[in-house]
């Protein structure tokens, strides 16, 4: 009798939390202990992820949380209206499996995981409203699906070409609509002063990312690519002030590391530019395999990292409408998302990253089911070939299997880069 009473049955949510905690802690332990000593300032981020994903500690209890489905929703406007942007892109296999119920088997794991997470209604910082830019097909459809779960979801129109003047005007309008809608829901007027302050603040946060990135241009790279992914992923949900403080400390520490000539990789580790479907915590499957195979990621071109921070906003007269227009232009015109009809900008960016970070090769990863990245693969490969840049294309998903096969391919590629480097010298 007694034993029966003490035997509590695990609820589905508890099970989900337990599984996610296991996924999270496995990756965090690998980052903490699987590599050379990480910078001390990284502890903030390790603890943050552990608190949020293993201990389910909410960060924004008393704030209005605004969920975003993609990077094209200007967080500057959300902060200016005293909301907290929470990016809902998800990297958990546990959530991916839940999402499989609602989406086709061959759908993108990122979308499935995001849908699954929201379907479970088991969220640590539950968004009060969700804005869903109509980017790729799957994200667009996911927005409507999520609405059916009972969330307040608003579609934000996003054009699929960006060269034309129509698209520029279209998205400027779209962002104006968005800010009007949000300001109505928040019961606040978007003020000039506050928007300017939040543009400056985000701009400063972006500058910190730029500084961190610049350290990776050195021959001795002071930080692992995986750790950098963790830093940028934290921006999805962290309190921005804390994030800024932590990054300032990281900048200082990396500066010292560069002076001391501390290299996070091995002596002859090839330098890799990572591109393709975004690695989102804890799905660091491919980045970990890469850095486990004695290569080091020096730069990336993904929407969970570089693309969030690279482009900053300039405004001439700092009126609300000027700021909104300039924000809209940045989020549309500088975006290198593969959903656009042309991808010249993404190719140019990858080449520029390879050159400026002195990289030896590119690893292009696409989630099985992430159609747009799969579609673009060919043209990117051709462009890299033209430029004489080595590139490896791999497909993966969120499942913990197929590790062996993937690591064999990555190791072979890394080995070939090493041989190339040896022949050069």
């Amino acid at each position: 009798m007694n034993s029966l009473q003490s035997h509590a049955i695990e609820t589905p949510n508890e099970k989900q939390n337990r599984h996610k905690a296991m996924e999270a802690i496995k990756v965090l332990n690998t980052l903490k202990e699987g590599f050379k000593a990480p910078p001390k300032a990284m502890d903030y981020f390790y603890n943050l992820f552990e608190d949020v994903y293993c201990k389910q500690k909410p960060l924004h209890k008393d704030k209005v949380k605004v969920g975003t489905m993609c990077i094209q929703i200007p967080s500057e406007i959300i902060y200016a209206l005293d909301g907290v942007p929470i990016r809902l892109c998800n990297g958990f296999y546990t959530d991916d499996e839940i999402g499989s119920e609602f989406l086709p088997q061959k759908a993108c794991p990122l979308v499935k995981a995001s849908v699954g997470h929201l379907a479970s209604k088991n969220l640590i910082d539950k968004p009060d409203m969700i804005y869903s830019p109509t980017t790729c097909d799957q994200k667009t459809k996911a927005g409507t699906l999520i609405k059916s779960f009972g969330y307040d979801v608003v579609d934000v129109d996003f054009p699929r070409t960006k060269e034309s003047e129509i698209s520029r005007e279209f998205f400027r309008r779209s962002i104006r609509e968005f800010s009007a809608d949000l300001s109505l829901k928040m019961g606040k007027k978007l003020s000039r002063k506050k928007l300017k302050a939040s543009i400056s603040k985000i701009g400063y946060a972006q500058s910190l990312y730029h500084r961190l990135s610049d350290f990776r241009k050195n021959r001795a790279v002071p930080i692992l690519g995986n750790d950098m992914f963790l830093v940028t992923n934290a921006f999805f949900f962290d309190k921005i002030d804390n994030w800024i403080d932590a990054c300032e400390k990281l900048v200082d520490e990396l500066e010292q590391r560069v002076k001391d000539d501390i290299h996070a990789g091995g002596k002859i580790s090839p330098r890799i530019v990572y591109t393709g479907s975004p690695p989102i915590f804890p799905n660091y499957k491919i980045p970990i395999i890469i850095e486990d195979s004695d290569a080091i990621i020096v730069a990336d071109e993904t929407c969970s990292s570089n693309r969030m921070f690279n482009d900053r906003v300039a405004v001439d007269e700092w009126f609300v409408n000027d700021m909104i227009d300039s924000l809209a232009d940045k989020y549309l015109k500088a975006c290198t998302c593969p959903i656009f009809s042309k991808n010249d900008d993404r190719i140019r960016r990858i080449i520029e990253l390879v050159r400026s970070f002195n990289a030896d090769g590119v690893i292009y990863q696409a989630f099985a089911g992430c159609t747009v990245y799969e579609l673009e693969q060919r043209s990117v490969l051709e462009a890299m070939e033209r430029e004489g840049i080595s590139i490896l294309y791999i497909e993966s998903d969120y499942s913990p299997s197929q590790q062996g096969q993937l690591s064999t391919r990555v190791e072979a590629f890394v080995e070939s880069l090493k041989i190339k480097n040896r022949n050069k010298t």
Binding site: E163, E165, E169, K196, A197, S200, K201, G203, Y204, Q206, S207, H210, I244, N310, D311, R312, V313, A314, V315, D316, E317, W318, F319, N321, D322, D325, S326, D329, K330, K333, A334, T336, D345, R348, R349, I351, E352, R355
Partner: protein, 327 residues
């Protein structure tokens, strides 16, 4: 050396330009009081109707010189026309269109009106792209008027009043002398039909100039024949606006700050020489570019001023946490 370069690249361009514009304004408008005379071939609208002008707009003498019979115009007698033109070119070639952005008194006046509007908290207006594409051709029509109208007078096709037809309708003729207290240009000339038409148009354009540049940044420059004339020779100029397309991410910051709404500055990633006919070389785009060396001004292929991350952060108030950009 590095420190000097750093200082230049992080310079507060707004303030630098503001003071340089005042400096040139004083030289051109009040130059006479200081016995400054830079000649009559100046490639900006420093109007010759201003009694104290410190260097005259090239168009006034040019129109007078062109108003002669064709056989005289194409003879040795016109060597003086050629000398005037060569002087104009020499002035122009050094600074390229920076004449517009930094030295033109009419441009400076427009910037002051813009400043006034900004103070009042009124947002500027813009053209849509199709409007822009149509309107930008007007300056070439104006240039044709500057050149063909006096020639037609020389050939006896038009009355004498048409020699300086452009000057008659140019807002500079009416506005500039006001700064030295001369209001004599503010009148309708009823002496002949042509004079009446031209001075009436002049009044209309002056009104448009004041209202237009209050609402739209650098309203008049869009229609300026001097700007058209500059563009014809700008390839030969020493000062050049260059773009490194590989480094451009098309974020549109340069376009957002461009007074002249030049779209190519953000969208064209193949041209290295990015100076367009409407450009006034104010360098706001370079100052607003957040990428290292994506936009730069070169003199004889030496980088004079280049876009830098650090400079961008400083100018946009993104250097510190609590920072806010200066107004």
């Amino acid at each position: 050396m590095k420190r000097i370069r750093d200082f230049i690249h992080k310079a507060d361009m707004k303030r630098f330009r503001f003071w340089l514009q005042i400096f040139f304004f004083v030289i051109f408008i009040y130059g006479g009081y200081f016995a400054i005379n830079l000649g009559t071939s100046i490639p900006v609208f420093s109007c010759g109707f201003d009694q104290e002008v410190g260097g005259m707009c090239y168009f006034l003498p040019l129109q007078h010189q062109l108003a002669r019979p064709l056989d005289v115009l194409f003879s040795v007698a016109s060597i003086s026309v050629l000398i005037g033109f060569v002087t104009f070119l020499l002035w122009f070639i050094v600074f390229n269109k920076a004449w517009c952005g930094y030295a033109c008194p009419l441009g400076t006046m427009q910037d002051w009106l813009t400043g006034l509007r900004k103070r009042l908290g009124i947002r500027y207006s813009t053209y849509t792209q199709p409007q822009f594409n149509k309107l930008k051709k007007i300056k070439y029509i104006m240039l044709a008027l500057v050149i063909l109208s006096p020639m037609a007078v020389g050939m006896g096709l038009l009355e004498r009043e048409w020699v300086t037809a452009f000057c008659s309708i140019c807002p500079g003729r009416m506005v500039t002398p006001l700064f030295v207290g001369d209001t004599s240009q503010w009148s309708l000339d009823f002496s002949s039909k042509s004079a009446m038409i031209l001075t009436a148009l002049g009044l209309v354009f002056t009104g448009l100039f004041v209202v237009g540049s209050f609402v739209k940044k650098r309203f008049f420059c869009f229609f300026c024949p001097m700007s058209a004339m500059h563009y014809i020779f700008s390839d030969a100029a020493l000062l050049k606006l260059k773009k490194d397309g590989d480094k451009c991410t098309k974020c549109g910051d340069c376009y957002a700050v461009c007074d002249m709404q030049i779209k190519d500055i953000a969208d064209d990633v193949t041209s290295t020489n990015i100076l367009r006919d409407d450009c006034i070389l104010c360098l706001k785009c370079v100052a607003a570019c957040p990428e290292d060396d994506a936009l730069h001004v070169d003199i004889l292929n030496m980088k004079l001023f280049t876009s830098t991350k650090g400079g961008f952060e400083k100018r946009m108030g993104m250097q510190t946490y609590k920072g806010a950009a200066d107004e």
